[in-house]
Amino acid sequence: MKKALVIQEDIIIQKILERLIISNNYQCRAISTLKDLEIEDQQQNFDIIISDILFEGISPLDFVFQIQEVILHKSLIIVTNMGQFKIRMKILASKKVDGFFAVPLDLNLIENLIAR
């Protein structure tokens, strides 16, 4: 079974994404921040990570780089409230992410991405 990780501070978005992923036959782990990450999680190789970029004490771009270093994964999708053009461009230019979605968003787009 494919494995996914959701990192979202907003509990409502987190739960909805978790269910969306589970309904697409993934095994999903949902957490609020990177602090909730356990040692076992870091040993996993996630097929997909859906994460926010807005966290306390770290800039959005640094957060993306930190995920690259800390968690093994195949693709990273950003779902965030912080959809400003500058941030979006910076993060897409880093070529570390496979999708960038700003809230409000149509979850069908994410479903299409993860169902591939």
Partner: protein
């Protein structure tokens, strides 16, 4: 005697101190419990909504199940604070989603408690509750309450009628302009801008039928709003309406007309009309603004028009006209005008001596 009094005073202070401690303790316990309760409501809401949007095979998540879950955690009519928190969560969620999930939530929120909670706020006597109710209704896209909202668009309180008017624009789009003639109270500039922006964001396709119906209104704010809409949507066919108000008797309306027309290029006929109306404007500052605009959009400078202005009795108009003529290569005309002034009023040096 003094000792007894002092002892009594200390006792009183101690009692007050103990009471304060008790109050602080109760407050801390209440806040902790309240935070825990709100967290429980949020977690339950997240769980229920996620299950409703993405049910697993064999799961039946209907509105009865959802109602039961909410009732179980204390979201009931007798606890209005919990109900209000749930409404806030609903609005937050609806703002985050688009597409089919958004549609599903709109339908769900009409079926589960606190259905009607926002609508009942419209009947409140307090203006802030009324305004909040209207806001919640349009945030949650509950169009069925539109009739109640229409009544509030003339409310005495500015905030209530502001929310009601925005709700009408959101629900009815261009059709809401037909209520413009019936508005009895002034609409502020801020309100006009908000309405234009909402119309542009949510109903980007212009419907001239309803716009033209609003042309007949004699209210100055209605005229200003219509002009701002024409500008925002770049309605070239409706420029004549703005032109009509260029020499309006009301200063604010003229100001809006000059601001709105500045984003258009005019045809020859329209330019002639504008130049004719120019002389009816009583304020010099507005005339100068128009002169600069006419200069900007004219490919060939109308020498007759500018010479007429150059000879105006108003020095500022004359100076602006001279500046435009000078910058467009008519230096001779300007020089002729200014040197001509000396011959008209010769200074008799000998007389003054």
């Amino acid at each position: 005697m003094i000792e007894t009094l002092l002892f009594g005073f200390i006792k009183l202070l101690l009692v007050i101190l103990v009471m304060l401690w008790i109050i602080i303790g109760v407050s801390i316990i209440y806040r902790r419990r309240r935070t825990r309760k709100l967290q429980l409501i949020e977690t339950t809401f997240a769980d229920v909504i996620s299950k409703f949007l993405y049910p697993l095979p064999g799961e039946n998540i209907d509105h009865i199940y959802i109602q039961r879950r909410f009732r179980k955690i204390g979201v009931i009519d007798s606890k209005p604070k919990n109900v209000q928190y749930l409404i806030d969560l609903m609005i937050r969620t609806q703002r985050s989603l688009l597409g089919i999930n958004y549609e599903k939530l709109v339908i769900l929120f009409t079926q589960i408690p606190p259905y009607g909670a926002s609508a009942s706020k419209i009947n409140s006597r307090k203006w802030y509750i009324k305004a909040r109710g209207i806001r919640e209704i349009y945030e949650m896209n509950q169009i069925r309450y539109v009739k109640q909202i229409i009544k509030e668009s003339n409310n005495v309180n500015i905030y209530v009628r502001r929310e009601a008017q925005i709700a009408l624009v959101i629900f009815l789009g261009w059709e809401s302009l037909r209520f413009l003639s019936y508005l009895k109270r002034k609409m502020t500039l801020w309100q006009q801008i908000k309405i234009v922006e909402k119309l542009h964001d949510l109903h980007p396709k212009p419907n001239l039928k309803y716009l033209q119906r609003a042309y007949g209104s004699d209210k100055t704010y209605a005229n200003e709003l219509v002009m701002r809409i024409i500008r925002k949507f770049n309605l070239i066919t409706e420029i004549d309406y703005i032109l009509k108000h260029i020499d309006n008797f009301n200063f604010e309306t003229r100001e809006s007309a000059i601001y709105c027309i500045s984003s258009f290029y005019l045809s020859e006929e329209q330019l002639i009309v504008l130049k004719e109306k120019f002389f009816n404007i009583p304020k010099t500052a507005q005339q100068i603004l128009l002169m600069k605009y006419i200069d900007k959009i004219s490919f060939e400078k109308d020498l007759v028009f500018y010479k007429k202005l150059l000879n105006s009795s108003n020095e500022l108009i004359s100076l602006s006209s001279a500046e435009i003529l000078w910058n467009n290569g008519f230096q001779e005309e300007v020089q002729e005008f200014y040197y001509g002034q000396y011959s008209r009023h010769p200074i008799n040096v000998l007389d003054s001596v």
